[in-house]
């Protein structure tokens, strides 16, 4: 009797998640096995036509490795840029930490559309970077920074950098500082300490951060759409096109599911690789 009242606390959320996450995702799975139809989103009967359509056309099938690559590169860029920042905040004096934390988180406050838009202003042919370089006389013709993979990776790395810094920071902060001091007392120089103590101990954070950024990057819509124009078609963009513009639901679902599974495989491989090295 008492137990029932306590369960009332979690009941609404449980129903919410089941009804609006679990069931819908099952619907997507089922949808990917329906037959395509003209004039309607989907037809009756079981079919793998959606999958066939995806894998048989290069335009679509090749977007998969391209999207995976984009995600991996973005992850790496975020790692390279984010690690020094995380290290800095972790070792900074308390007064500064709040401010630095704020700077890292500030992009999140601003909305993804605004941020992506900002990148178009920066990277465009008449944008900030090109105009500045021209005015300084360093280049004559504008550099193609936008509407290509370079711009997309840059923008994605910017958007998701906080998601790399935060786990890294958490991992660095939970590491016992006494371990570093012990290493120094045993005669290791600062760089050795970093290489053989700090870095391995922050591995969990590196792992979480990379996985998080990877998944976010490949699922991103607005940023590749705005910064990539219509030239960089990630699988996610193709999925949304198929579903919203073309009403081809089985096809779109099949693509989405394939994307999710591929991402899962990449993440698993990554986790396996980094786990072996860690232990």
């Amino acid at each position: 009797m008492k137990r029932a009242r306590i369960l009332m606390l979690i009941a609404p959320v449980a129903v919410l998640i089941f009804l609006f996450i679990v069931l819908p995702y099952v619907t997507v799975l089922l949808m990917s096995f329906r037959a395509p139809a003209d004039g309607q989103p989907y037809g009756a009967g079981f079919s793998v036509e959606g999958y066939r359509q995806f894998f048989s056309q290069n335009y679509y099938a090749l977007s998969l490795p391209q999207t995976m690559g984009l995600g991996i590169v973005t992850s790496l860029v975020c790692l390279l840029l984010g690690y020094p920042v995380a290290l800095h905040i972790a070792t900074a004096p308390k007064r500064w930490r709040g401010l630095l934390y704020g700077i890292v988180l500030s992009p999140l406050l601003v909305g993804i559309v605004v941020r992506s838009y900002g990148w178009t202003i920066l990277l465009g042919n008449a944008g900030v970077i090109n105009t500045t370089l021209r005015n300084l006389g360093l280049i004559e013709r504008p550099l193609p920074l936008m509407y290509n993979e370079f711009g997309v990776v840059l923008a994605l790395a910017h958007v998701f950098l906080p998601f790399m810094v935060l786990p890294l920071l958490a991992s660095l902060q939970t590491a016992d500082p006494a371990v570093r001091q012990a290493a120094r007392s045993l005669g290791a120089g600062r760089f050795t300490v970093f290489r053989r103590v700090t870095l391995p101990m922050s591995m969990p954070g590196i792992q979480s951060g990379c996985i998080l950024v990877f998944v976010l990057a490949i699922s991103s819509y607005v940023t590749p759409a705005l910064v990539g124009g219509m030239r960089v078609k990630t699988t996610t963009l193709l999925v949304v096109d198929a579903l919203i513009d073309q009403f081809q639901w089985p096809f779109g679902s099949a693509m989405a599911l394939t994307l999710a599974i591929s991402a899962g495989i990449v993440v698993l491989i990554f986790a396996r690789l980094t786990r072996i090295r860690w232990s």
């Binding site: 959320v13 020094p84 700077i103 992009p107 909305g111 559309v113 900002g118 990148w119 819509y221």
Partner: protein, 258 residues
């Protein structure tokens, strides 16, 4: 090490610049007196703000986003706090399942969740009508943030305080009202602010589920940006940034934070 440290510092500084650059650029672009998004700006002016204020579409969109965010946050606060209370106080073996369940909207790709919701609502006959799907999507996206914040503030605390209140004569309701609630209020406030900002700025869910009629601000902005290049969009963006800043500052002042 003589060269490494200054190089690292330079890299770090560049990253901080990198983080702030697009935002700064947008704000500056909004003050551009000229017609195009050129840089450097052709003089400073507020004219694009006036244009935007007269643009019903954008005003509608901001109001729409604000209302949507407020409603979604309200629902998330109630549901998320209840879930947090259950998770910290009462969940035993199912604790991990509960946690992952509530965080699912965060773990799963937003676009995929939006698509799944679209299919689901279509299957049950509602589709994108009445904005139910949109509202559900927003509640789902904001729920994890309330949950995370409230659980953090609950976990740092001794749960015997409520039992103590009971031994002193307080009923369950009274103990909750006078002891638990004041102590989780900061967590709820932070969660609420996060939730509001997330809802206000989220794109994926709104894009897929918006249906016809008015749309939230991020969608409106996106539509506009695809084909227009005047700084008006920058002005709208700047207002959006300002709104968020005001919200965060207010919450910091009222509730204090890490």
């Amino acid at each position: 090490m003589g060269l490494v440290t200054p190089l690292l510092s330079l890299l770090r500084a560049l990253v901080y610049v990198f983080l702030l650059a697009p935002i700064v650029v947008v704000v500056l672009a909004s003050l551009n007196a000229g017609n195009f998004l050129t840089f450097p700006p052709q003089g400073l002016s507020l004219r694009w703000f006036w244009t935007f204020l007269n643009n019903d579409v954008f005003i509608d969109a901001i109001v729409y986003s604000l209302i949507l965010a407020a409603l979604a946050t309200a629902v998330s606060l109630v549901l998320g706090t209840m879930a947090a209370l259950y998770f910290v106080r009462h969940a035993r073996r199912e604790a991990e399942v509960v946690r992952i369940g509530v965080l699912l909207p965060l773990i799963l790709p937003e676009i995929l969740t939006a698509i799944a919701l679209l299919f689901f609502f279509y299957e049950i006959g509602i589709g994108t009508q009445y904005k139910i799907a949109l509202f559900t999507g927003h509640v789902l996206m904001t729920l994890p943030f309330v949950f995370l914040n409230v659980t953090t503030s609950l976990q740092g605390r001794d749960d015997a305080v409520e039992l103590a209140a009971r031994t002193l004569g307080a009923s369950r309701m009274t103990a909750f009202r006078r002891i638990t609630l004041p102590l989780i209020a900061p967590g709820m406030a932070t969660g609420g602010v996060f939730a509001f900002i997330i809802s206000f700025d989220t794109f994926g869910v709104s894009f897929i589920l918006k249906g016809t009629g008015s749309a939230p601000l991020p969608i409106q902005l996106y539509d506009y940006l695809r084909f227009n290049f005047t700084p008006e969009a920058a002005a709208v963006s700047t207002v959006s940034i300002l709104l968020t800043l005001v919200l965060v500052t207010l919450s910091n002042m009222l509730f204090g934070r890490d």
